[in-house]
Structures are given as C-alpha cells and as structure tokens.
Symmetry: C2
Subunit: 386 residues, 2 copies
C-alpha cells in the first residue's frame, strides 16, 4: 500500500426530498446571490428546475441563470459563464445536473478570481488560491464530480479533453436525490454505470500491491453497480437500486477508493482523445476502450485480472491467464447485456483518425501506470476496439 | 436505504514515516502553542514520543504536556487536562495514542471554551459552539476516533460510560503510521480488530433494508480485518497487514460505513455497562457481548445473519435459521482462534452485578434498533455471555 493524504471536505446530503432544502442550506452558509448553472433542459422535464428555483427564492436569494452546458462540456461555455459571473458578481454557484455541469462549475468557480483565460489552469500555467463555493444538485450519477475536486473540459479549438482540479474546487455541499433519476433515458443510466465501473477499474488495476481493503471496497462497488443497473433496466423507478447505484457512483470517485493505490487512468486518457474527435458519450467511450485496454495490458498483472474474475463473476476454473481472459470476456458480455457498445464500429467510428487520436492521447506524455503506453500502444488498443 | 447527511472534514495522512511531519502541518495551520496529550507510556517505548516532540520543536512550537490518559478514559482526567489547557492557554491539542487519548482530546477541546463541568456535554445539558483544533497521531487502530467526532468517557463516580460528539470535534488532521503498531502486544492488536468488527456490526445488523452498497463495504471491512489480524498473529511486523487493518479500522467508524442505515449500538451500550463495573478492555468486552447479542436477537432478521455467514464464512448450506446460527458460531470460533475471550467467566466476571449492569445499560432508555432491549433483555444477554 502506498502512503496517502486524504481530505474531502464536501458535505453530502443524500436521499428523497432533499432538494427543496438547497435554499436554506445556502442561506445558512451566508451567500445572497448565486449563479444557477444547468445543462440542456432535462431539469425542466423532471421538475428539478422548479424545485430548486422555488427553494432559492423562498430563501430570499438572488438568482442569475446560465443554462446550456453540454455533455462533454466545452471551454467556450466556461468562458461565457465566467464572464457572466464576473459581470453579476455572484457569490456562489448552484450546479444542477450531472458531471458536465459540475465540472463547468469547478473551473468557473476558480476562474472567477483569475483575470486570464480559464484554460491556463488546465495547462498548469497558473494555480488557484481560492474559488467560489459550489453547491451541487446531482441529476445523474456517473462522474462522482459531486464529491470530488476534479473536472474534465474540452478545448474544442485545440481538440484537448483534459482533467483538472484543485483543493478549492470540492463542492461545499452536494445533494443527491436518487429518485429524480427514475426518468433518465436507459442509455444514460447505463453510461453512468459504465463510468462508475471505469473509475473503480482505474484504481483497481493500477498495479499497487498489498491493498486488500481497497480491493474489497472496489469489488463491492463493482458488484453493487452491476446488480443495480441490471435491476434498473427492468425497473427504472426502483428506488433502492437507484440509491445504491448513486452511492456506488459517488464512492467510486470521491477519493476513498483510490487511496493508497497508484491510479492507472490510461483508459480515460484514451477515451478523452476519442471523444475529442467524435461526439460520443463518455460512458460509451469507456465501454468501448476498457475491454480493449484490459486485453492489451492484462499480461502485466494477470493475477489481478483473475482476481477480478473470481470476485465479480465467480470465475474459479483455469490457469491464471485463462481466468484473466475469461474475466475480460465476462465484463464485455456484461456490457453487451446492459446495452453498452463494446466496439468503435458500433458508433460509426472507423480507422480515419486512429493515428490522430493516438498522438492526441499522449500529448501530455505516456499514459498509464500498470503499463506505460505510448502512441503506438494507444493505436493498438484502439485497433483492438475497432 | 435511509436518507443521510455526511460531512467528515478530517484530513487523514496515512503511511510510513509520516509522523515527523506533524510539526510542519501545525505550523502551516497557524498554531504556536499546543498541548501534547498521551497515555500511559507506550509512546516512550516505540519511539513515537521522541519523533513527535522533535518535530514540534523543529517547527518552533511551544509544547505543554499531559500524560497518563488511561484506557477507558475517565472524567477526572478530562477535568485535569482542561484546567491545564485553560491555565496555559494552548491553541490546539496534539493527541498521541489510541482512542482513549483522542476521546479525551475531543471533550477537552470543547470544554476549553466552557466554564462548567465537561460532563455537562455528555448529559446533553449544553452543546458546544466551537472547540480547539485537534491533531491526532494514532498508535493503535481500533476505535476509529482518529477520523470521527465522537468519544467515550467514563464518569467513575456515577459509573456512566457514555459516548458524545459534536460537529466541532473531528480532528483537523490525523496521522496514521501503521508501522508503529508493530510493537503492540498481541492482545491489543486483537482487541483493536474486535473493536473494528464490532463497529461494522452495529451498522450492518441495524435492520435497515435496501443497502447493498453499504453491506458490500461492511463485508469488505470485516473480511479485511479478519484476514489481517490473523496474519499479524504470526507476523506482527507485516506492514501490509498492519496497513490494511489500520485502514479498515478507520473506515469502520469514519461515518461512511454507517451511512443510510440505522445503527443498532445495543452491544456497545451493554459493553460500556460491563466495563463501567469491571476493568475490562473494550475490545474484550465486545468479543464477549456481541455473540451473545447475536444469539439473542438473530430471530428478528435471520436473513441478515445468514448473509453474514455466507459472505464472511462461506456458509451456504441449511435453512436461513441454520445458516444464521452457524454464522454466529463461526464468529465465536474466529474470536477464539485469535485469542479473544467469548465469555464473562474468562475474565473472572460472574453473576454478582448482572442486575446492576443491566439497569445501568438502559439508564438513557432502551438499547438497540434491530430489537429494542430493556433491562430484562440485557440481563438475559449477559447471562448468555456468562
């Protein structure tokens, strides 16, 4: 086990009928004027927008609105939001939506106190010293952004989809009411589950030894996610399945699961490169990339892939190598069972940009920890994923 | 799953050679004069005292010392510590030791700002509005006090061993270097493991349904604890086993494991009553009380006890009732395997105070959630434990 230094200051309010309290919470923390940030309109359909606005108004808060944050959120939107925040001098951000809205809120909260371009933070040219407080209202469980400090933004002009975070960009408070996710389209629930699993895999397969407690936690999150998403395919309004999936998604990336282990994160890097070229959902990209990555690197740590097979799929027969390969096959079969794509071709992606995507993926250096991947490796993984 | 509101602001620094950083951390947070609080001297033997003092001195801090905190820490010591803190006007507490030292630090940190008697907080006569910052240096993994807000103190005069906590008594920062626990006597390692398991059980067996994610986490902590403590019996210096046991102990009671579930806590209540009458280690008391409690209440939720048997001991044959009873038997056998007592008689406790302890246990009302226990129930459980 590696040493670690963990500090997650986010307060998490979880459960049914918790969203109407948001105005009161903000009032108690002391802000009076907030930016209400949201996406492309699902919150109008599921009633969350009305609930939040009513709560903010009843608490006497002044509300400035900015909607239209896209999935795979973009830098141009961040710039627009930051300009509005500065013009209006808001005191906090209320981010209502999924990871895209929360991620946009984080970079915007830091950029509020910075005169230069927000992308400078992503390029590590500057580091924030503070950020506006962020309140999250989660409407889809997937990225874990509601309880961590990180965010991914796409710089459309430069085709860079990068991650960034700071100690100042943890949401102060996030609310998760799993019941509002009952109306999500099936594919979004599935993509969220794949995202959750992928976050766990990045820590689980990073190669660090002597982490029994972490492995147990990872396997528990994996099994819970798989069981819950399968239940939701037939019972989308099953509250317990929604709640367990939501809590699993938060635990997968609130820091706890990764402690004491080197994260790998190559698959995320590759997926970011794919979705910088193609308009593909992050969860879909991960469903496609991860089995290919597993196939390409499993020889470095076959014992861990075999353990994964045993603990998650009950695979106990065969040599270590055989069990490892069966495990990867079983994961691919699970993805197909829940309707996730497992090949680039399923989303109309061919060989056109393989080289570009491979080069793009390693722009900031080789990817991965379990196995260091250069552009050629990435190209081979993408080829496996075709 | 129940709704929950979680906020754990403690920063956790974990791993080898982390203790020498304590002075620097405190300096960065800004305090200049601290109380160094510790127990009965093990920190002199394992070198931790010297490491801490050197680090505090090198950071230029003024140090006031108070030692002699006992296991099952007592109110008279708290009063003495608070008087010293007020006289010296310290700005923070550095608590070096196990749960007893941390628990003493918590009530003392709150009492620093209160003119009345510290026990008033335990009696819920007053509630703190602030507390001095607490820095923890953990030397034995057991209570989880390093990353939660609670503490148990014994009022010797009134024979009350009670728990208390507040949002202000989370340690600001705790350091866990598992390697310093290599020199612990075997029975202390065992007692710590039993304490950890018992914390998990209190949430796991509380009766709340629809908590797959939490159950998975609990079972992971239980398996990790059992595996690690068994390794340590033959290899007390095995770092990975120490690290996994330590991280499991923290996870067992830093709040995460309990979220969304009603805790039971009857067994802790009964043990506190036992150790208010007899000078018995908390872990030993829990090893004795828990199997008796399980036997007495399992009929209320036999499915959960059967699940426990399957997930922890691999028990799959028999009716639900049979599996539940086998599980309780397997847990008792595990306790005996690691050298923990499973009967009051093993610690020389007979029938003398059964009625007194039963009455004392329910002083603040019936115990438990899975099954509400009155004095007669407690007496029967203690009788089962004889």
């Amino acid at each position: 086990m590696r040493n670690f230094d963990f500090h997650n200051p986010t307060r998490l309010v979880f459960g049914q009928d918790t969203i109407p309290k948001i105005g009161q919470y903000i009032k108690e923390y002391g802000e009076k004027k907030v930016l209400l940030l949201y996406g492309k309109g699902s919150i109008f359909k599921n009633g969350v927008y009305d609930t939040v606005v009513k709560s903010l108004q009843e608490a006497g808060l002044t509300v400035v609105e900015a909607g239209g944050v896209k999935p795979n959120p973009v830098l141009s939107k961040v710039r627009e939001v930051v300009a509005l925040m500065k013009a209006e001098q808001v005191e906090a951000i209320v981010a209502v939506g999924g990871g895209s809205v929360l991620d946009t809120a984080k970079i915007s909260a830091a950029s509020f106190y910075y005169d230069g371009d927000p992308w400078d933070f992503y390029e590590r040219k500057v580091f924030p010293k503070k950020a506006l407080p962020i309140y999250g209202i989660l409407t889809i469980s997937a990225t874990g952004s509601e309880m961590n400090s990180g965010g991914v933004i796409t710089n459309e002009e430069e085709k860079k989809k990068w991650g960034w975070g700071s100690p100042f960009t943890y949401p102060r408070l996030s609310i998760i009411d799993p019941s509002v996710q009952s109306s999500l389209p099936v594919n979004q629930t599935v993509n969220g589950a794949v995202d959750t699993l992928s976050h766990v895999f990045e820590a689980y397969f990073g190669g660090t030894k002597g982490t029994l407690m972490q492995d147990e936690l990872s396997e528990g999150i994996i099994r819970t996610t798989m069981t819950s998403v399968k239940t939701l395919l037939s019972e989308p309004s099953n509250y317990e399945a929604r709640a367990n999936l939501a809590w699993a998604a938060t635990l997968a990336l609130n820091g706890i699961n990764g402690l004491g282990r080197a994260g790998d994160w190559a698959s995320h890097g590759i997926e970011h490169s794919v979705s910088a070229y193609y308009d593909i959902a992050h969860g879909e990209g991960l469903a496609i990339v991860f089995p290919a990555w597993m196939t390409y690197v499993h020889h470095v740590d076959p014992e861990k892939f075999a353990r994964f097979g045993e603990k998650v799929f009950g695979i106990v027969d065969g040599t270590t190598e055989e069990k490892a390969l069966k495990a990867i096959g079983a994961y691919k079969a699970f993805l197909q069972e829940i309707g996730a794509p497992v090949a680039l071709s399923e989303r109309g992606i061919g060989q056109e940009h393989l080289d570009d995507m491979a080069e793009n993926a390693v722009l900031r250096g080789p990817l991965g920890t379990l196995m260091k991947l250069n552009a050629q490796d990435v190209r081979e993984i993408l080829t496996l994923a075709l």
